[in-house]
């Protein structure tokens, strides 16, 4: 049957846009974290400026998904492929927003110096960046094992987040002057932790795409 040509091209476009979006989100997190470590407001502003591009891709994915559903009447795996593309793009869009939130913390702290060099937050972000890459890779390869492995990394992220919170609480208790920074850095921990949860959601979408059932990897 030749009539699938158009459809297959559309499905491929969806995948390409998701891959591009994933790359941009991973870079947004990397750039916002490097801006935070140096409290570089310029770099932070660049992250904020790039975000609309991520949002635009999400809109394009949503439009193309709607068009394919309306014109091709997809069923079974084709249908899941489109549903999953819509879901993943909305997860990625949120991840982009959370990276912007980190960049905005840098802007709030503009002109200050960090009370101490950051260790755990960058470590956490590094794990989450590789989760983003792996989540997109597991989507491209339809690799359920990689999706599960990636979701397991979320446990490390959660553990680091708890550790960071404890550290920030004791800093604030010891020296009230640190409260503003410690609060903002706690927020950053929270943002990174949320990004990891969205990456885990992507893993769930990959499992749904491949086997047609929804696991809960966020446990």
């Amino acid at each position: 049957m030749v009539t699938r040509r158009e459809f297959d091209i559309g499905l491929e476009q969806l995948q390409n846009m998701l891959v591009e979006m994933g790359g941009r989100v991973e870079r947004a997190l990397a750039d916002s974290m490097s801006a935070l470590e140096k409290l570089d407001a310029e770099a932070a502003r660049a992250v904020v400026k790039e975000d609309p591009l991520i949002n635009q891709i999400e809109e394009k994915i949503s439009d193309l998904g709607a068009k394919l559903i309306a014109t091709q009447q997809p069923v079974a795996k084709d249908l899941r492929r489109i549903l999953v593309a819509l879901k993943i793009s909305s997860d990625l869009e949120r991840m982009g927003d959370l990276s912007v939130d980190i960049a905005k913390v840098v802007l709030r702290l503009e002109g200050q110096t960090l009370m101490k060099p950051l260790h755990d937050l960058p470590r956490m972000a590094l794990i989450v960046r590789s989760m983003i890459v792996e989540s997109i890779q597991s989507y491209i390869d339809e690799n359920v094992d990689l999706a599960y492995k990636m979701a397991k990394d979320d446990d490390q992220v959660d553990a680091l987040y708890s550790q960071i919170l404890r550290e920030m609480f004791s800093l604030m208790a010891e020296n009230p002057k640190t409260v503003t920074q410690a609060m903002y850095l706690s927020f950053v921990g929270r943002y990174i932790e949320r990004i990891a949860d969205h990456a885990t959601n992507i893993g769930e979408s990959v499992v749904f795409l491949v086997v047609g059932k929804r696991p809960d990897l966020n446990q």
Partner: protein, 252 residues
């Protein structure tokens, strides 16, 4: 088992040497719509026709296995085929009304089965035309030829005709494939209505139609039953890759 539900056991149909339907065992639940799908020549229509012994009419056709309807294996040579076809109605791809009036098309079956009372026949004709949503369209011209109706109306007339002998099961072989979209929608609506009273088995090449109207879907390929499951599942997450490929238009 109610008179509406039935099942086949290892049902095979041969055309000469060709094994056209291969040992199919299927349950047809009480008052549900089962869609049979698959590429041309996969055996679905042959299978459908063996459910009321229509293949008897094809030279060289041979049936093995069992079809159990109402406690009776209808493949048994002793089966009264006329009575069987009264219990199991059939609707074909092309509407085939008799060269008779609308009224006579519907009254033909009951009359054949011995009903002579005019009032009773009137009642049956009205009831069947109402059930097929045709009554309001034709009540003022019941004695005009059935062939004067539009294609969609003719098809509904044929359905009314098969209902007139009080079947419990309706077999439909692509009942809407020769109709325009509005007539098709009416037939689909009618099927949804009819399944309250009848078990329906429908062969269709229209995947969306199968997805819309049926409760269960069976995918046939090269005479085998590849997969048979709830329609919802068949069209969202079939277990067999070939089912997925077929309904997604990758082959066939």
């Amino acid at each position: 088992m109610s008179e509406h539900a039935f099942y086949t056991k290892d049902l095979s149909v041969y055309y000469g040497e060709k094994h056209a339907v291969k040992k199919i065992s299927m349950d047809f639940p009480d008052r549900q719509v089962v869609a049979l799908i698959g590429p041309s020549g996969c055996g679905k229509s042959t299978f459908l026709r063996s459910l009321n012994r229509m293949n008897d009419l094809i030279p060289g056709a041979r049936i093995e296995g069992e079809v159990w309807i109402g406690g009776e294996n209808i493949c048994d040579p002793g089966t009264d085929v006329v009575r069987l076809r009264q219990k199991i109605g059939m609707v074909w791809q092309r509407p085939n009304p008799f060269h008779k009036s609308i009224y006579e098309n519907v009254a033909f079956g009951p009359r054949y089965h011995g009903i002579r009372n005019k009032k009773e026949l009137d009642r049956i004709v009205e009831e069947c035309l109402r059930k097929t949503a045709l009554w309001d369209e034709v009540k003022d011209r019941l004695h005009q030829s059935g062939l004067a109706l539009s294609g969609g109306q003719q098809q509904r007339l044929c359905i009314a005709r098969s209902l007139a002998v009080r079947p419990s099961i309706l077999l439909m072989d692509e009942p809407a494939s020769a109709l325009d979209p509005v007539s098709t929608a009416k037939i689909e609506e009618l099927i949804a209505e009819l399944k309250k009273e009848y078990t329906i088995v429908i062969v269709t090449h229209n995947m969306q139609q199968a997805a819309r109207i049926s409760d269960k879907t069976a995918f046939f390929f090269l005479g085998d039953l590849i997969e048979y499951d709830d329609t919802n599942r068949m069209f969202t997450n079939p277990s067999r890759k070939s089912t997925d490929d077929y309904i997604s238009g990758r082959f066939g």
